[in-house]
Amino acid sequence: MKLKYFSAPYLVWMVVFILVPLLMIAFFAFTNDEGRFTMKYISDVGQYANIFVRSIWLSLIATVICLVIAYPVAFILSRMEKHKQGTMLMIVMLPMWMNFLLRTYAWMTLLGNNGIINHLFGMIGLGPFKLINTSGAVVLGMVYNYLPFMILPLYSVMEKIDNSMFEAAEDLGCSYFQTLFRVIIPLSVPGITSGITMVFVPAISTFIISRMLGGGSNLLVGDLIEMQFLGNAYNPHLGAAMSLVLMVIILVIMTVMNQFDPDDQVLM
């Protein structure tokens, strides 16, 4: 009995439910209702260029903010005593296990014009500020929901950096900043790249966060695709074309990210 045949059931499954559906997206994007080849839908996507740009823009901001917040967190975690690390990591990751709809809903109640934040501001005689239904709220939702995705890969890379590295750097006359830029950051590049993809990809394609916190006027690519399949503008062909474009954008970004990865591994 050859062990490699064990994977046969999965290979069938993989072809039918992973490969074929993706090919169907491509098929739908290039055909019309009669099943004839057409470029119409792909070129129609151009009309929505501003939405694509906005999605990339907002998710880029969210990714950068996540990186800035998460980097020190991961570093602090990785320098804790070993037995504390596991518990701390669990505490940091715990909110992630709540359903993300509920987490986003929580921000809805916090940010509302009559929500707690504005209520607190009201007590000290300020506001009310317009917090919800802005693109800022969408970015906040992204940061909140995907921050742990950034912390985890960063932590797992930094955990492996030995303390003696810093001592060595210091002995060789590095200042704090030099240690940071010459030692820590270069060593954590794999964590940074995988963290960036893990935040950027879900952020660019979300439609829940923009709908719940963006108030329907901050459309993102995700909303647009959802609208074509289950929403107001029923048009699966256009939706498939948009999905295809989105996949290409993500593929390009992943390739760029791969450039930074020293080991040239498969991502994730």
Partner: protein, 423 residues
């Protein structure tokens, strides 16, 4: 020590969980008892409903969110539960939020439903596209209760496909504590009023939103004229800067919590929201509005047509129709249920405006041509996705800088690698 601590914390959590469950259980029992004494459903012809008992049939019902009495409030009827008890037919009950979502699910062809509740224009669209099938009215004796003026409407002229479930008008809901305009003076232009910028909600579906603009511009609600549609879109574009959010069901949340001051919405839902928030009031603008009818239909793909008809008939039982209408606060086309309502509700200008107004100032949607629909959809997406200017000017430069950085980084890396290879 550590182990002990985690064990204790687990135990405590379990205890608190159990305690809350137990507490809930007790009160649940209590509540059920109370319910039995409060509500009894009388069915005129029980024999009719028992035909399918024990056959393990189930039907799929697709309805608007929160559009049926569920028994969650004390003393109300769990309509689906009663139906299951009575007939032995299992009800799979799921929700949609817009007519278009319903259309998309059904048009995709994969989900099969037995009973759906679309609105007027969607019904005529579905009839035209052969998506719903004629109902056998012999199986729906309770159709006799449906008021004469709600039969044979324009969307279903021979009344072969649909049984009206509810109707209502679209009006404006507003916060009386802040907006001090006399009620009689309120009209659609309130939604364009710059004094209340960022406090205004708007429909998140093109048909309802265009209707408001069309009334203001004096067009027909069913216009297919390209010029008029473009004017209406222009009108909506002018409104955009004052709009806080484009919403549908989220209105409940936002108006109920006082997050916005003004919103156009359906009369019945407005009443539900006003129950929660006393400072709200609702007015049907005098310049006219849209009258909508939501009706029960059976899709072509239904697997259990007879059971579906039984369900529709059940929904038209006077007690059930009353329970539903009492819960959702919409207007009913059901004579017997109407008679059971309090006098106060019967004469309410919100739910039952006077006949003359309905005749002169309201109109019902009918389906538009494909071209007009497409145009409306395109104009709508275009209007909604139009950028605020201040975002735009940053995007391009930052992108360029980002790309340059990337390129530089990649090149430097290659350079370093080459150097390394040399050594």
């Amino acid at each position: 020590m550590k182990k002990l601590f985690s064990f204790v914390s687990v135990a405590m959590l379990c205890m608190s969980m159990l305690a809350s469950c137990a507490e809930a259980d007790v009160s649940e029992d209590y509540e059920e008892e109370e319910e039995v004494t409060q509500q009894t459903v009388t069915i005129e012809d029980p024999d009719y409903y028992t035909r399918f008992k024990g056959k393990g049939i189930s039907i799929n019902v697709y309805n608007w969110g929160d559009y049926i009495s569920t028994g969650a409030d004390e003393g109300t009827i769990d309509v689906n539960g009663e139906f299951e008890k009575l007939t032995g037919i299992k009800v799979n009950y799921t929700n949609f939020a817009t007519n278009e979502e319903l259309y998309a699910k059904l048009k995709g062809g994969a989900a099969s439903y037995d009973v759906i509740i679309p609105s007027d224009y969607m019904i005529s669209k579905m009839i035209k596209e052969d998506m719903i099938q004629p109902i056998d009215f012999d199986n729906i004796p309770n159709f006799k209760y449906i008021m004469e003026n709600f039969r044979n409407q324009d969307y279903d002229p021979e009344n072969a496909y649909s049984v009206p479930y509810t109707w209502g008008t679209v009006g404006i809901m507003y916060d009386t504590t802040i907006i001090d305009i006399p009620k009689e003076d309120i009209d659609w232009d309130l939604l364009w009023n710059e004094d209340y910028a960022d406090q205004i909600l708007m429909f998140d579906n093109p048909r309802d939103a265009f209707a408001i603009a069309e009334i203001m511009l004096g067009y027909s609600l069913n216009t297919e004229n390209e010029e008029e549609l473009r004017h209406a879109a222009e009108k909506l574009r002018q409104q955009k800067k004052n709009v806080q959010a484009y919403v549908m069901d989220e209105v409940f949340d936002k108006m109920g919590a006082g997050d916005a001051l003004i919103a156009p919405y359906y009369a019945g839902d407005a009443l539900t929201i006003m129950d929660d928030n006393d400072s709200l009031d609702f007015v049907v603008p005098k310049s006219g509005t849209n009258l909508f009818v939501d009706a029960m239909c059976i899709p072509k793909s239904a697997k259990q047509k007879e059971a579906a008809e039984m369900y529709i008939n059940f929904m038209c039982e006077p007690d059930i129709a009353f329970a539903n209408i009492d819960y959702i606060c919409y207007s009913t086309p059901h004579q017997a249920a109407y008679d059971m309502l309090d006098e106060e509700v019967q004469s309410s200008p919100i739910t039952y405006p006077d006949q003359q107004f309905i005749k002169d100032k309201t109109s019902v949607f009918v389906n538009l041509s494909d071209e007009a629909n497409q145009l409306m959809q395109d104009l709508w997406t275009e209007m909604k996705s139009a950028e605020d200017e201040n975002v735009n000017k940053w995007i391009a430069p930052v992108f360029l800088v980002f790309c340059v950085f990337l390129m530089a980084f990649v090149l430097i890396r290659r350079h370093i690698k080459k150097k390394k290879d040399i050594f």
